[in-house]
C-alpha cells in the first residue's frame, strides 16, 4: 500500500513537471489572448477540482446519513477542505486572468458568481463544523448541510447566467457539442485535468488516513 502511494505521488510529480514544460513551450498562443491563455491550464483544472471535491463531499454526506461511519464523515470533511483550497485558487487565478484581459479583477460574471457561491458554501460548511463540539452531532449536522446546500447548485447554474452578462469564454464542452480548440491545447488541458484529479485523490487519501490514524 505504501509503495502504491509513493508511486502515485511520483507519477503526479512527473506529470506536473511535464505539463509545466508543455504549457510554456508546446502550447501555441491563443487567438486574441496571446500567452495569457496559459493561465487557463491552471485555472480550468483547479475549478474542475473544486467541483469534483464538492460532488464527492455531497456523495459521502449522503452515505454517512444512510450508514453513519467515521470514515464517510472524514472523507466528506477533508473533501470540503481541499475543495475550499481549489476554489480559492480558481477564484484568484480567474481574477488575475480577468484583470489582464477585461481590465477588472471582479465584475460578477456568471461564472465568477457561481464559483463565489461555491466558495460561500464551502466556507459555511467548514464554519458549521468548527462550532459543533460533539463529534457525532457534528458529522450528522454537517452531512445534512452539505446535502441541503447541494440543492442550490443546479438552480444557480440555470439562474445566474440569466442575471449577469458574461464575458467568460464559453466552456470547452459547449452547448453545440463541438470542441473548438487547438488539438495540442486540448490534449494538454485534458492531461492537466487528470493531473489535478490525481492530486485531489492522493491528498484526500492521505488526509483521511491521517485523520483515521490520529483517532486510533
Amino acid at each position: 500500500m505504501k509503495s502504491c502511494e509513493k508511486g502515485l505521488w511520483l507519477f503526479i510529480l512527473l506529470l506536473t513537471a511535464g505539463l509545466f514544460y508543455a504549457v510554456f513551450f508546446f502550447v501555441p498562443p491563443a487567438e486574441g489572448l496571446g500567452s495569457l491563455v496559459r493561465i487557463a491550464f491552471f485555472h480550468i483544472p483547479v475549478a474542475w477540482g473544486s467541483v469534483i471535491a464538492f460532488l464527492v463531499g455531497a456523495w459521502y454526506a449522503l452515505r454517512y446519513l444512510r450508514r453513519p461511519g467515521k470514515r464517510f464523515d472524514a472523507i466528506s470533511a477533508e473533501s470540503a477542505r481541499l475543495g475550499l483550497i481549489f476554489v480559492v485558487l480558481a477564484t484568484l487565478s480567474g481574477a488575475v486572468f480577468s484583470k489582464l484581459t477585461w481590465g477588472a479583477y471582479w465584475n460578477w460574471d456568471p461564472r465568477q458568481t457561481t464559483i463565489f457561491v461555491l466558495l460561500l458554501i464551502y466556507a459555511a460548511y467548514l464554519t458549521l463544523r468548527s462550532v459543533i463540539t460533539d463529534e457525532r452531532r457534528r458529522a450528522r449536522v454537517s452531512a445534512i448541510y452539505a446535502l441541503f446546500s447541494f440543492l442550490t447548485v443546479p438552480f444557480l447554474i440555470f439562474i445566474i447566467p440569466r442575471f449577469y452578462f458574461s464575458l467568460h469564454p464559453s466552456p470547452v464542452l459547449n452547448g453545440s457539442g463541438s470542441i473548438e480548440m487547438d488539438p495540442v491545447m486540448l490534449r494538454v488541458l485534458l492531461l492537466s485535468l487528470l493531473d489535478v484529479t490525481l492530486i485531489y485523490i492522493a491528498l484526500l487519501g492521505h488526509r483521511v488516513k491521517e485523520v483515521h490514524h490520529h483517532e486510533t
Binding site: 446519513l65 453513519p68 457561491v117 460561500l120 458554501i121 466556507a123 459555511a124 464554519t127 458549521l128 462550532v131 459543533i132 463540539t133 460533539d134 457525532r136 452531532r137 450528522r140 449536522v141 452531512a143 445534512i144 448541510y145 446535502l147 441541503f148 446546500s149 440543492l151 442550490t152 438552480f155 444557480l156 439562474i159 445566474i160 442575471f163
Partner: protein, 223 residues
Amino acid sequence: MQVSLYRAVEAVFRKEALISLRSRASWLVVLMFALTTLSCVSLLMQGDVLSPRLAAAMLWVILFFSLLSGAGRGFADEEQEGTLMALSVYGSPQAVLFGKGIFMAVLLFALSLLIVPVYLVLMDIPVFSVLLLFAALLAGTYGMAMAGTLLSALMVGAKAQNGLLAILMLPVLLPILLPAIVLTAGCFSGEAVRISYLVGMLLYDGIMTLAASLLFDFLWYED
C-alpha cells in the same frame, strides 16, 4: 396515541402561535431591527432617489437580515427553555418541522407586510404591480422560513450561534433572493418582468421543502 399528520402539524402550529403571542419578544425584535435598518438607510440617503433595481436590492437585503433574526429562533428558543427534549419525545419530526416552518412563514410574511409599506413610504417608491410584489414576498418569506427552520435545528448545540445563521443561509437562499430582486425591481419600475422568475422561486421553495422534510428525519432521530 396515533394522531394524523395534519392534526400534529396543527398542534405544533398552535403551540408556536400561542408562545409567540404570549411573549412578543421574538417578532418585536425582528420588527424593530427592520425599522432601525430601513430608517438608517433612509436617513443616509438624504432624500436621494434610488433606481428601481437598487431600491429592490436594498429592500431584500433589509428583509433578509431582519427576518433572519426571527427565522433562526425556531429551535434556539426551545433549546434555551429546555423544552427540546419534551418536543422530541411527543412530536413526530415532520409535524415539528412543518408546524414550526409554516408558523414561521406566516409570521415572516406578516412582518414583511408591515416592513415593506414603511420602506416604500420612506423611500418614496411607487409600486406598479402590488399583486406581483405580494407574490414575491410570499415566495421569498416562505423559502426563508423553511430554510431557517431546518438550519436553526442544525444549529442546536453549536458554540457560536450569533451570525451563524446568516452564513449558513445566504448560499442556500441565493436562488430565491436573486429572482425576488428582479421581480421587485419590475414592480417598482413598471416594466414587464418574465413570470418565469416567480415560477423558479416557487419551484425552489417546493424542492427546499421536500429536502428539508427528507433531511429532518435524520436530525431528529439521533442514536
